[in-house]
Symmetry: C2
Subunit: 337 residues, 2 copies
């Protein structure tokens, strides 16, 4: 923060009025002569006066900066969420302090620390894969800073959450696979301590049960990225217990499976069906185009931000432990029958 920008004090001095007069004029206070007000406002505009948000925050003990921590910015889903958040924030006059945990616990803790020191008025976050303790988030709550979890939520802390309807999304997708004739459906997902993994697996399993299909645990793999998916899928496809369909926790993984399947010259979707989760641009770019469960990240961001605004504005209105569920949509393209 170099060469100080112009302050109300500067204006007061130049215009030979008191700082409070300037403050009132700039805040368009009613008890002020129109002439004075105009004089000050004109001068301010002319000299590009910008209110110092830092001073304002410290004085009014409330800031207009919200903190956001995401695991990874380059993941299409999280990038969309951030865009949704920025959209609402911009409209409502808030700014966003962004952090990336890179899936690491200690980075997440450090980010929370900075957020605390920055006196943000709220935090929106999706927890890192590595994280299994939640004291840092609890500290935010203890300091009365509203926390909204989205997607990768933390069930230990009672607060607002915005989740994708993982269970329903997985159930619908799996049922679709079953209804199109698949019988041995493999499931690739993230580590099981994450709620989204539990929920998606729940949907997957219930779909199988509902249709009288056995749950084969050899068909369930912890594998959630492109590179790892290729060898894992290859091995499964060459085994005795070859699946006739794959359902993956994200598009990258599904596309890795697709790659492996094509290399082994299996017909898609006739011999092997594949379904992803997310619906990023790559799902359209692939050939055959990927069937996937679309999760609208932008809406998640918008909802999370809206929930936060409610918390900030009607703080009296107790609890407000509202949750929001964002519906998914099965987008059938070419990797399923």
């Amino acid at each position: 923060m170099p060469k100080a920008q112009i302050t109300i004090k500067d204006i007061a001095r130049e215009l030979q009025v008191s700082v409070s007069t300037v403050s009132r004029a700039l805040n368009d206070s009613p008890d002020l002569s129109a002439a004075t007000k105009k004089k000050v406002q004109d001068y301010a505009k002319l000299h590009h006066y910008n209110p110092n948000f830092l001073a304002l925050s410290i004085k009014k003990r409330e800031s207009t900066i919200i903190g956001v921590i995401v695991p990874e910015v380059t993941h299409h889903f999280f990038a969309s969420v951030v865009e949704g958040i920025l959209e609402v924030a911009d409209r409502e006059g808030f700014s966003v302090l962004l952090f990336r945990s890179h899936e690491q616990y200690d980075k997440e803790v450090r980010s929370v620390q900075r957020l605390l020191s920055s006196r943000v008025c709220g935090v929106l976050t999706s927890v890192a894969k590595e994280t299994t303790r939640y004291d840092h988030f609890q500290e935010l709550v203890d300091n009365d800073i509203p926390v909204i979890f989205f997607d990768r939520i933390c069930v230990d802390i009672p607060t607002n959450r915005v989740v994708i309807d993982d269970y329903a999304g997985a159930l619908t997708a799996t049922e679709y696979l079953i209804n199109t004739g698949c019988r041995k459906i493999a499931f690739f997902c993230s580590p099981m301590h994450l709620e989204i993994s539990k929920n998606r697996r729940g949907g997957y399993m219930d779909a199988l049960r509902k249709h009288g299909l056995p749950v084969d645990h050899d068909l369930i793999k912890i594998c959630d990225n492109y590179d790892d998916a290729i060898p894992v899928a290859t091995e499964m496809l060459q085994s005795e217990n070859k699946p006739d369909a794959f359902f993956a926790v994200n598009d990258e993984t599904a596309l890795g499976i697709l790659h492996a399947t094509k290399q082994l010259h299996f017909k898609i979707p006739d011999e092997v069906s594949i379904c992803g989760f997310t619906d990023g641009f790559a799902a359209i770019a692939s050939d055959p185009q990927l069937t996937t469960v679309g999760q609208n990240g932008f809406d998640v961001g918008v909802s999370a931000m809206e929930l936060l605004l409610e918390r900030i504005r009607y703080k009296g209105a107790d609890a407000m432990l509202k949750n929001r569920i964002i519906r998914t949509k099965l987008i059938v393209r070419e990797t399923t029958r």
Copy 2:
């Protein structure tokens, strides 16, 4: 910023010492008895004291928040840049206030305004497509706030820049197409007022000239996204003047062209070669996999942030109008011979 967090004043009161003692202890000042220092530090730790960055900034007249404005967070390249920035920022103790212009001039102006009010210590940005006036950026410079442009730079303002080597990238890619036998190479790019368009077109044209090929302006289109590319490419492929290669300003556009080409059943790469620019995940997901000019967004972000740190730390060291050029790398995959 709800229920005030603990302050040095609270600590001073509880410990029956003065605020200056607390301040000194927390800053590990040498002229203080070890006992007092320890007492204060222990108390602070125990009670989760977090220094108030706002107060600090206002007092020291320097903040540790940098502003970043990108056109779009969901574009893979920009998301990578943001990650690079966050990486260095985190390591060096800075926080990032993120804005998205959504390619709109007025949003960009509003973002700069907020950055000014937030008293950030520097700004990293890539200008919106819509932007043709630069007063808002000039205002940052006028207030001695270091501005670093990356990728979509602004040549009117003398400051640091980090650019992709667009010219060389385009030249290399075009030459590769020529060397593999392509003779009628179409070029799809963004609006011409952007420097990146000029530079990439420059590389494209120079490659043609160097190899004695004519520049056919019917083969140059302003078209830079997936959806628009499909009809435009389709029409070209059905015309008399059918190109035997396409070079596009980004992967999305190249993938749109790929889609159109496949629909018309042209053999790729034998009848039609395609080359993109960026190298996002979709380039790997596509089939055939996309040949593209890889631009390392992460490195751009890292370089931009490093340049900013130099500016902040050695502000005396005059000018420092260093630029950084990030090299591209032609990644040959399956859409070229």
